[in-house]
């Protein structure tokens, strides 16, 4: 019952008029950002973080704003998937498979309504899971020492390498690049400047927010200008959005299964919402595809991935809040916000800042209700947003990012830095080197180094402390398992490609 008390306290934080307003703005902006192709939750949060920071919002309000945006983007992603067959963001890719065929059959309104309900169920169930599960995990994590934390961070990168890209080596390179960037600046323990090249501005280290805005928002613009045709907006007439109880009952099983699978894949560090919707869809097709209706507009093929990606969004908050290890790119960004606000995430967060944690959890229930209301009757308005021409939209979005960054320090150097990071992000993405590990590395580098050095100074420089407890054995075993699996999949994939190539070339 302790959980209920904490939750009641959380609602007392979340239901203040100001925080309700933050949740509302977050939901609204999130749905729009999610709906627009090319702008995903990470971009949305990246664009708004500088604004939240420059405004000096209190930590709980800033987190409520950005977490609502995160949930909102998960709802919004489905709109263009269903109407245009263009996923609004990466997790919404699976929704196109049955959502667009439904729209072609003239059932776009039903698909939108059903997916809104599925999103609501997925997000609410995973928020319940977060409420129950996070405090338990925090209790286990209290026993983590510096050696365990170091292993945990390595595990987060290993998990990411298995999922983020086809070439696991490139994902590890990305993580190392981020970690290398994190060492720029004055060493906090000895005061020695490292890798600053005498540039005064670099003594404070690279600001995470600036790297993030550049890597995501600016590089996205460079991609868009290379291939503007990838994002043609269109205005389509949309019938009245109604949903019958029968439709919901038909897909209820799919929604519940999708929520469960989604939540679990969200909890795994580094996996995130894309995996959640992918696994939810594949599993549902295996279970329910008796009449070969999947891929041709089966409502369950819309319900399952939508429940899955929304549930994963909630699940990804579990490791972020309890361990300080983000479960996805967007939670990495939320984590950065906490660290920038001088709040150390991890098991102690629940004791030291209950207003932040429980206020956030309660706000997620509220945001979900808001999003359901916004996305059932008002979905037509969001769909119309897709008709705004990109030459207004994209420059506008980039300008918000620039204004936000400028407002933090009033620094021209920062504006040049985000442009530089934009170019770097573009080149890395072209080379198939994923950006999320870079961001994660830059973010976690400081804490990882502190834990490594703390562990080694406890042991007097003896490296075996890193493998000295059963907990560390378990974590390192998982690291080896994850790396082994990703190499295995990579090799198998390469072999299949080669076989295909042989099959196509007759000799």
């Amino acid at each position: 019952m302790e959980v209920l008390n904490s939750l009641a306290y959380g609602f007392s934080v979340a239901l203040t008029p100001f925080n309700l307003l933050m949740a509302f703005i977050g939901c609204l902006v999130g749905t729009v950002v999610g709906a627009l192709p090319g702008l995903g939750p990470t971009n949305g949060v990246a664009i708004l973080i500088p604004v939240a920071f420059a405004l000096g919002l209190p930590p709980s309000s800033a987190l409520i704003l950005l977490a609502s945006l995160y949930y909102g983007a998960m709802y919004g992603g489905r709109i263009s998937s269903i109407l245009l067959n263009i996923p609004g963001d990466e997790p919404a890719v699976m929704t196109t498979l049955d959502g667009y065929p439904m729209a072609q059959k003239g059932e776009a309104a039903t698909a939108l309504a059903l997916s809104a309900v599925a999103s609501f169920i997925g997000a609410t169930l995973s928020t319940v899971g977060l409420t129950l599960f996070a405090p338990l995990l925090a209790q286990i994590a209290i026993h983590f020492g510096p050696a365990e934390y170091f292993a945990l961070f390595v595990l987060a990168f290993a998990m990411l390498s298995g999922i983020a890209t086809r070439n696991p080596i490139k994902s590890l390179i990305a993580a190392l690049l981020g970690l290398v960037l994190s060492t720029i600046g004055t060493d906090p323990q000895t005061g020695i400047p490292r890798y600053t090249f005498g540039i005064y501005k670099l003594y404070e280290g690279l600001d995470f927010i600036i790297a993030l805005v550049g890597l995501f928002a600016v590089s996205e613009f460079l991609f868009f200008i290379e291939n503007p045709g990838a994002m043609h907006f269109a205005d389509r007439p949309l019938g009245r959005v109604r949903i019958s109880f029968r439709d919901i009952r038909f897909s209820l099983g799919a929604m519940l299964r999708g929520s469960g699978v989604g939540f679990i894949s969200g909890v795994l560090p580094g996996a995130g919402a894309s995996l959640g919707s992918f696994v939810a869809y594949t599993m549902e097709r295996r279970i329910s595809n008796q009449n070969d209706t999947f891929g041709k507009g089966d409502p369950r093929g819309v319900a399952a991935p939508e429940a899955g990606n929304n549930a994963a969004a909630g699940g990804a908050l579990v490791p972020m809040l309890t361990l300080g290890v983000p479960g996805s790119g967007t939670t990495a960004v939320l984590l950065a916000l906490l660290i920038s606000l001088n709040i150390t995430p991890g098991p102690l967060l629940f004791q030291q800042h209950p207003d932040v944690v429980w206020g956030l959890i309660a706000a997620l229930y509220v945001a979900n209700l808001m999003l359901l209301v916004m996305n059932l009757p008002l979905v037509g308005i969001f769909a119309r947003m897709l008709a705004v021409p990109p030459w207004i939209l994209m420059p506008g979005v980039v300008m918000i990012a620039y204004v936000g960054v400028y407002s933090i320090n009033h620094s021209i150097f920062d504006l040049l830095l985000i442009t530089g990071f934009g170019l770097l992000g573009y080149v890395l993405r072209k080379l198939d080197i994923p950006l999320v590990p870079v961001v994660l590395g830059l973010l976690l580098g400081g804490i990882m180094e502190t834990n490594l050095r703390r562990a080694l100074s406890i042991s007097g420089g003896d490296w075996s402390i890193l493998i000295s407890s059963p907990l560390t054995w378990g974590l390192w075993a998982l690291v080896v398992l994850m790396l082994g699996l990703s190499v295995f999949f990579e090799v198998r994939h390469a072999r299949r490609q080669r076989q295909l190539a042989h099959a196509e070339v007759p000799d």
Partner: protein, 144 residues
């Protein structure tokens, strides 16, 4: 080829990074000091970049011709924006910036200029007046 080149650049980075790190001095009570973490990073980074050189992925599809030119112009706009923001002020700089970017995205010049004016005014009102985050007024301040 791109991967091999990237591998070479990263290998050079890893070596320079590691060598610089071993120059950081160690102090008493912190047995491994500020050098150890960079060394822990430099070694795997070097190994992985060797892997890239030996086994590169297929060549990515780099931009060529007009798109490449447009990207270069976009970067010039971004850099120029940073330099003119304070002298010209937010409204004028943003108007010019959005007009240029919109034009690069294929809009007619009057269309993107109109969008620039609208976006500049809306953002200025939103940030400067509503949210209370001061933005440079620049040349327009002289008139006021």
């Amino acid at each position: 080829m791109s991967d091999r080149l990237t591998g070479l650049v990263l290998l050079a980075l890893a070596v320079a990074y590691g060598v610089t790190a071993s120059g950081f001095e160690t102090r008493f009570g912190d047995p491994l000091g500020p050098a150890i973490f960079p060394l822990v990073l430099a070694i795997p980074l070097g190994l992985f970049s060797l892997y890239l050189i030996v086994r590169p992925d297929p060549e990515p599809d780099w931009a060529r011709g007009r798109p490449l030119l447009k990207q270069a112009l976009t970067l010039i706009v971004f850099v120029a924006y940073a330099y003119v923001l304070e002298p010209l002020g937010f409204i004028v700089a943003t108007l010019l910036g959005v007009a240029a970017l919109g034009w690069l995205l294929g809009a007619r010049l009057w269309q993107s200029a109109a969008a620039g004016l609208g976006i500049a005014l809306v953002l200025f009102l939103l940030f400067n007046s509503l949210l209370g985050l001061p933005l440079p007024a620049g040349v327009l301040a002289l008139r006021g």
